[in-house]
Amino acid sequence: MGNNIEDDVIDLTSSFTLVDQRGLANVIIDLVSEDSFNSSLQTKCVAKKHSQALTACIEKNSSGSQKKEEPRILKKFGDCPICMEELGKCPMSSTNCGHVFCSNCLEQSLKFEKRCPTCRKYLKGKLAYHPLYLSSD
């Protein structure tokens, strides 16, 4: 188990942007809080290690190489967790839990289940999600 956790964290840092890391961290925490999924202490412990490690990564990213990273993060919003294409190429929407997807992808997903595709928060009604506009649009 120990190795897996380490590997996980390294991989997340290397292949996802900041936005995605937060998204994934949320997935992990939320799955654990669902009572049917591995309610054992061990898993909770794992989840904690995950989020601690991720926090550490995020802090390192934002303090260490701030000047280098900042323009890249502003330009790139990471990938849509549903189609895995870069966000910003198509119209985007944010759920009220703050998770961002292509508007099309999110709408398609909500036809299957009225929950956030990332954190599984129940989404219902007109305020469940809203479009996001970038200043360059």
């Binding site: 997935v27 999924f37 054992s40 898993t43 549903i82 299957f112 956030c116």
Partner: protein
């Protein structure tokens, strides 16, 4: 196959291939057909479990509606685990059912299945017989799981006593796997297993 499903599986496949877990030999993913609807996964048995040293193959079927519905995954390698059917390889794992989220990926699913091998949920079993043994005779469960890992997944621990008992029943004209299932089910009591097979 729907456009988004194929596109995403392709992206995921690339992602998995670059991952640390693949580099470390923890998980593997292979294509089974050209249209990206079927893949084969492989996970290694986690350390400090009866599955350690074993390699477990998984059948992965990607539905037309992926990623809005979960992939269909079952063990192809026979395994003795409370949350996996010893007969069909069906897996009882909530993220493969009602807790699926479109943002989950084949990589996270494979890692979750591997985690399930480390932390069984005997109170939410797929295989009631295995779960009962897990709870009531845990030491025997561990031995049985190690034995299955040795026989079917290439695990290192040979349990001679079990092999001999399987051979005894085979000598009576029973198929090897059938003999192993009966013995595993009846806590390796030769008489009860034989009785059940010939009743």
């Amino acid at each position: 196959m729907a456009n988004i499903a194929a596109k995403r599986i392709k992206r995921e496949f690339k992602e998995v291939m670059k991952s640390e877990e693949v580099a470390g030999g923890d998980i593997k993913l292979e294509l089974v057909n050209d249209c990206w609807t079927e893949l084969q996964g492989e996970i290694s048995g986690p350390p400090d479990t009866p599955y350690e040293g074993g390699t477990f193959l998984l059948e992965i079927k990607v539905p037309e509606t992926y990623p809005f519905n979960p992939p269909k995954i079952r063990f192809m390698t026979k395994i003795w685990h409370p949350n996996v059917s010893s007969a069909t390889g069906a897996i009882c794992l909530d993220i493969l059912k009602d807790q699926w989220a479109a943002a989950l990926t084949l990589r996270t699913v494979l890692l979750s299945i591997q985690a399930l091998l480390s932390a069984a949920e005997p109170n939410d079993p797929q295989d009631a017989v295995v779960a009962k043994q897990y709870k009531e005779n845990h030491e025997l469960f561990e031995m049985t799981a190690k034995h299955w890992t040795n026989i079917y997944a290439g695990g290192p621990t040979c349990i001679c006593e079990f092999n001999q008992k399987v051979q005894r029943i085979q000598d009576m004209g029973i198929d090897e796997h059938q003999a192993r299932v009966a013995l595993s089910t009846y806590d390796w009591e030769l008489e009860r297993a034989t009785e059940q097979l010939f009743c």
